[in-house]
């Protein structure tokens, strides 16, 4: 694999790292299996592309895209919390509706952003003047954005409000007994999650130079793949490490996919991407169970080290 292809994989991995954070927030923190991302990702791209083409400042356009994603998350949360529609189904409804909404926003199925001023333009001009090629500068820029988002999310999840959100996902009954309005937590969490997804879409549109309504297909599986991969390679109880693992998982996933598509002996085509993703996620879900004996061993060690058993006896 060439350096250009490698850095391209890192860049797209970083962009989808933001989506991995959104998926992590919904699936892992709120325990809300949310498929809205397949619609909120292209929504972010559509909003940012339309606004930039219309001459709006790209930073403002990106902020509006995030808000649009948050609104989509609120719709899913509303369907689930207010009307008791099963979370999966509620999110599928929003996702399907967003397909039409995205075409309405752009006025057509796709929008080109080539030669438009994006949030990357000043950075690329500056690094270009220093002699750095764009394929190096782009992943650096996206990396900085991802770092900021990461830091904010990690900080949020260790705050009192973030802790309440974690309790909402982990034990809603206990959360309510502790005075936490779990319904409101779901609204806020879903808005944040899909705000991240839309930010991912906005970054994708600006780094790749286009927005396409079909680009959302399978985003959720890619996001999940990143989260699961990250959890497998970096196990931790420290929030900062947990969120870093999501982004790392996303980058590694993209590198693995790039390697697979580049390996001629496999005979894979770019259009096999979705199949490869589905197989990878299925394997990631099957393998941890197949490894059960090892996991049990690990747990046993952890238990005796912290003296769980001994202290338990003392309590009795």
């Amino acid at each position: 694999m060439s350096l250009v292809a490698f850095l391209g994989a890192v860049e797209i991995g970083l962009v989808f790292g933001v989506i991995a954070l959104g998926v992590f927030l919904a699936f892992r923190i709120l325990n809300f299996p949310d498929l809205t991302v397949d619609g909120s990702f292209p929504l972010g791209a559509a909003v940012v592309a339309t606004l930039i083409v219309a001459g709006v400042n790209p930073w403002v356009a990106t902020a509006v895209a995030i808000l649009a994603g948050a609104a989509a998350g609120l719709v899913t949360a509303f369907l689930n919390v207010r009307f008791g529609i099963l979370h999966l189904l509620a999110s599928i409804l929003t996702m399907i509706a967003l397909f039409s909404v995205n075409i309405r926003i752009m006025g057509r199925p796709n929008t080109a952003l080539i030669n438009e001023e994006t949030i990357l333009t000043p950075f690329l001009d500056w690094t270009g003047a220093l002699g750095m090629p764009a394929f190096v500068a782009k992943p650096i820029f996206v990396g900085i954005v991802v770092l900021v988002v990461l830091a904010l999310l990690a900080r949020f999840l260790t705050s009192e409000y973030g802790l309440a959100m974690r309790a909402t996902g982990a034990n809603p009954r206990m959360a309510r007994a502790q005075g936490i309005d779990t319904d409101r937590q779901v609204y806020v969490g879903m808005a944040m999650s899909n705000g991240f997804n839309a930010l991912g879409g906005a970054l994708f549109a600006q780094t790749n130079g286009f927005a396409d309504v079909t680009s959302g297909l399978g985003t959720i599986v890619v996001g999940l793949a990143a989260v699961i991969l990250g959890e497998t390679i970096l196990r931790s109880r420290v929030m900062a490490v947990i969120v870093i693992a999501c982004v790392l998982g996303s980058i590694l996933y993209r590198i693995a996919i790039a390697l697979a598509l580049n390996a001629d002996f496999l005979g894979l085509k770019a259009s096999d991407l979705q199949l490869a993703t589905a197989v990878l996620v299925a394997l990631a879900l099957i393998l941890p169970n197949a490894r059960n004996p090892l996991k049990a061993l690990g747990r046993g060690r952890a238990g005796s080290r912290s003296g769980g058993k001994a202290a338990g006896k003392a309590a009795q």
């Binding site: 949020f156 260790t158 705050s159 009192e160 409000y161 973030g162 802790l163 309440a164 974690r166 309790a167 982990a170 034990n171 009954r173 206990m174 959360a175 309510r176 007994a177 502790q178 005075g179 936490i180 309005d181 779990t182 109880r237 952890a302 238990g303 912290s306 003296g307 769980g308 202290a311 338990g312 003392a314 309590a315 009795q316």
Partner: protein, 264 residues
């Protein structure tokens, strides 16, 4: 401090399985009183408790806590005034979070939850002192996952959590029933200690007649959604478990006699 009046609760209304869980319950608990509730399965003990916490909305009736009518308040809103410990040790604490994170959740109750870090150095210090009194060695394990603790330890921490933010009302829902007898005694002793120390108003549901008489200063018995027996003071001090049992069978017998009269 706690007052419920004319509470009616029906489960599965309009279906063949319709049951009257509470059928006109009136109960007034003054500040600082420790009331124990006994009764057979389905008598409405837990339903009564859930009506006070707001987890069950009554069809009819009023709930007052600390002089405020809270009948229309949601459960999270009432949680600012009312703390509870569940029967299931898994329900009252969050096993995915650490001990100190659980304590931080409880400490923030009743105040707004903002974006300040949930755990600071002085908070940790306060938590360490709080759990040290349990004598379970948990003060050195504050960062451990709650899931690593035994059921008894989790109930003990649940009790501490209920007291962290200055609650005045404590509701206990058979909180020792899922524990083995020795651990149950430990948790019950701790309960009495904490209640006495903080002067809490307590409603404790139990199905142990022993505990019902040994704890607190008033005992009520429920049967088929009604309070059938309410005893306090000297009369209660004179009671022993056999007396209570006898009373229990008599109440049920009378109920049967009534029914047979009605049906006859």
């Amino acid at each position: 401090m706690i007052g419920v009046s004319d509470i009616h609760v029906t489960f599965g209304a309009g279906t063949p399985l319709e049951t009257k869980a509470l059928d006109g319950v009136d109960l007034e608990i003054p500040t600082g009183q420790f009331v124990t509730v006994i009764g057979s399965n389905g008598a409405g003990k837990s339903t009564l408790l859930n009506v006070v916490t707001g987890d069950i909305r009554p069809d009819q009736g009023r709930v007052v806590v600390g002089g405020t009518d809270v009948t229309r308040w949601s459960a999270p809103r009432r949680a600012r005034m009312v703390a509870r410990v569940f029967q299931d040790p898994m329900a009252g604490t969050c096993e995915a979070l650490s001990i100190e994170e659980n304590l931080a959740l409880a400490a923030a109750r009743g105040h707004g939850r903002g974006l300040a870090p949930a755990l600071g150095a002085d908070r940790r210090e306060r938590f360490r002192e709080t759990v040290a009194r349990l004598g379970l060695g948990l003060e050195s394990r504050l960062g451990d996952r709650m899931g690593l603790l035994s059921g008894g330890q989790r109930q003990a921490v649940s009790l501490l959590m209920a007291t962290l933010s200055g609650m005045k009302v404590l509701l206990l829902d058979e909180h020792t029933a899922a524990l083995d007898p020795r651990t149950g005694t430990f948790v019950l002793d701790l309960t009495r200690q904490i209640v006495a120390e903080l002067g809490l108003t307590v409603l404790m549901v139990t199905h142990s007649m022993r505990h019902a008489l040994d704890c607190g200063d008033r005992t009520i018995m429920m049967h088929e959604g009604r309070i059938v027996f309410d005893v306090a003071g000297a009369e209660r001090d004179g009671l022993d478990v056999p007396d209570l049992l006898q009373l229990f069978t008599r109440v049920r017998g009378e109920q049967l006699a009534d029914d047979s009269l009605l049906l006859g």
